[in-house]
């Protein structure tokens, strides 16, 4: 019985961690999706294709394209933070953590198509 209690506690903790881990990942993805929806959809469209009227007019990049996807994370973070060309800088509005989440979200866009 004594052996069983610590074992059960460890198992319960493991189950809790297992349950929490995906939910925190899901929460992070959800936060990134919200950040994307508020800041990026206007030009890059929901699917990242840049097919919104604004995106077409401004010739916004297709975020799922190989041209964007082959860039390292650091480059994407810099573009979002400091802006480039017609894209404005978001560094004063979005925190570095949120920008990292946003880059992860952009990385997942090709799989969502």
């Amino acid at each position: 019985m004594r052996r069983f209690i610590p074992g059960a506690a460890v198992m319960a903790a493991a189950i809790c961690l297992a349950a929490l881990a995906p939910s925190s990942a899901a929460a992070a993805e959800n936060d990134a999706a919200k950040t994307y929806a508020k800041n990026c959809v206007l030009c890059h469209a929901v699917d990242g294709s840049g097919s919104s009227p604004s995106g077409k007019a401004l010739k916004a990049k297709d975020l799922a394209s190989s041209e964007v996807q082959k860039k390292p994370d650091e480059d994407l973070i810099e573009v979002v933070t400091k802006g480039k060309g017609k894209m404005p800088a978001f560094g004063k509005k979005i925190s570095p953590e949120e920008i990292k989440g946003l880059v992860a979200y952009i990385r997942a866009l090709p799989n969502k198509k």
Partner: protein
């Protein structure tokens, strides 16, 4: 039964999204039970209930919502040219910015997230205030009798704008203007709106919003309708034709309206607003005695437009209009009835071969049908017959040399039912034959040495003015006497 379950599911969905308040929810449940009882016993109610429920859903969904202004630029971190080909002409990005409620920003905000019992907060760190300073010179071909020709105004107008995001979904374009002619400030075009583009309808992007505004068509997204149409600048001292359709600026800043709009799939725009006279600056509550246009009840305005955008092309075709019952100088008694039906189009072509210069074509046609019972029945009648119509046609073509120069050629024509009392004789401004016909052209050349400074020269020529080419006012003045050169310096900061 299917209807009942459909209603229950619909209520459940709305409840889960937190759209209904508890009280409204309880009321909704009681209403739902009632509806279900009746629906079981009388299938004929289906035809009534479905539209009612759809209307309720739309009402629940619609929660309470330019001229180029630098505060938008400060808010978005984007140059003026992102939203404007040349102010106030909106690019697709500018239209979307307006559609979403003027709220897009890339700048730091004072924020607090919604949690527990707390509301969220999204405040711009920069107060969204802008100034437009206009100075001008106007000269007509012949001086207006008894006045000096060649009229300098420093300033012609000075406008202050509260233009920017008020929250995460609410923003404004609110303008107060000092005018040299009247030597005072007055409330100018205003559009406060709620916009939400976070939803989908039938799997496609869906934006909806609510607008409070004071000028029919000021809420519109295109530059083919009157409030934001060509000419974008004008002299306030040169004579203009007297016949004007109601929707063509006659109600501007004199009404208050509440409306809603939707954009589905970035293509279909549907909007509507109901207006009521406010006569700002006049006696309140409105006794009606100070105005020839007192809206009785509400005047509905409608707008339907279809747009499509490709990499280098943007096309819009649409219709809009207003119906108003009004009383001259009274708020009781007989009414005049006016219905304006209009068509419009706008086409913008970006030309990559010419460094992305933009060629724009815009046009509108307005048909006004009126029955002037009240005006005809005044103690001193101001109309000699009851029924009238007025046709207004305007079209223009503009070439933008980058963001630095633009040249525009515009044509306009007004025709309608002659009436010697409605279009009465008066030196310079009146018509000797009661004919509302006027037509002519406008040429404009603008130079933008910087995106917030406009130096423009505009020439307006008349072939016919208030019904005639020569001696139109019975006092010897010709239509061409009103041809005018207008020079403008506009500074926006």
């Amino acid at each position: 039964m299917r209807l009942c379950s459909g209603i229950i599911e619909l209520s459940g969905v709305l409840g889960k999204r937190g759209i209904q308040t508890d009280v409204a929810g309880r009321r909704g449940n009681r209403m739902q039970d009632e509806i279900c009882r009746y629906a079981r016993s009388a299938k004929s109610l289906i035809k009534l209930v479905i539209p009612v429920m759809l209307s309720v859903c739309l009402l629940v969904a619609f929660k309470p919502e330019a001229r180029a202004v630098p505060s938008y630029s400060r808010q978005t971190g984007l140059p003026c040219a992102t939203c404007h080909f040349a102010p106030p002409e909106l690019t697709p990005f500018g239209r979307k910015f307006k559609l979403d409620g003027y709220v897009f920003t890339t700048k730091a905000q004072v924020t607090d997230d919604k949690k527990d019992h707390n509301s969220a907060l999204r405040l711009l760190e920069v107060f969204p205030l802008s100034v437009v300073f206009d100075t001008s010179y106007t000269a007509t071909k012949s001086p207006q009798p008894g006045t000096q020709n060649g009229n300098f105004q420093l300033p012609q107008d000075v406008s202050l704008f509260l233009a920017g995001a008020w929250g995460s979904h609410v923003g404004s374009f609110a303008q107060v203007t000092y005018t040299g002619v009247t030597n005072h400030f007055s409330w100018d075009n205003t559009d406060v709106r709620y916009g939400n583009s976070e939803r989908k309808l039938w799997g496609k992007p869906f934006t909806y919003g609510v607008t409070f505004n004071n000028n029919p068509t000021v809420e519109d997204l295109w530059n083919s309708t009157p409030a934001w149409g060509f000419p974008f600048t004008a002299s306030n001292v040169s004579p203009t034709p007297m016949a004007k359709a109601l929707i063509n600026g006659a109600l501007g800043q004199d009404v208050a309206g509440l409306g809603g709009y939707t954009m589905w799939n970035e293509h279909l725009y549907v909007g509507g607003t109901v207006y009521r006279s406010q006569h700002i600056g006049g006696a309140q509550p409105n006794p009606g005695t100070g105005s020839g246009l007192n809206i009785r009840g509400f005047a509905p305005y409608w707008r339907v437009a279809w747009q499509t955008t490709t990499k280098n092309n943007s096309l819009e075709v649409g219709t809009y209009g207003i119906h108003a019952k009004t009383s001259p100088f009274a708020v009781t008694g007989p009414t005049d009835s006016r219905t304006d039906w209009a068509l419009d189009f706008q086409y913008d072509r970006t030309i990559p071969q010419f460094k992305n210069d933009v060629l724009s074509f815009r046009g509108t046609y307005i048909r006004e049908n009126s029955t002037l019972n009240a005006t005809f029945g005044l103690p001193t009648p101001a109309a000699s017959q009851l029924r009238h119509h007025l046709n207004t046609a305007q079209a223009n073509a503009e070439y933008h040399f980058g963001t630095k120069f633009s040249g525009t050629v515009g044509l306009f024509s007004v025709t309608g039912t002659p009436d010697i009392l409605l279009y009465a004789a008066n030196p310079v401004t009146g018509s000797a034959n009661g004919d509302p016909r006027s037509n002519g052209y406008i040429l404009n050349f603008s130079w933008w040495p910087e995106q917030n400074i406009d130096l423009a020269v505009q020439y307006t020529g008349y072939w016919r003015f208030n019904g005639a080419q020569t001696n139109y006012d019975g006092a010897g003045r010709n239509a061409s006497s009103n041809n005018a050169v207008f020079l403008l310096g506009r500074f926006v900061f």
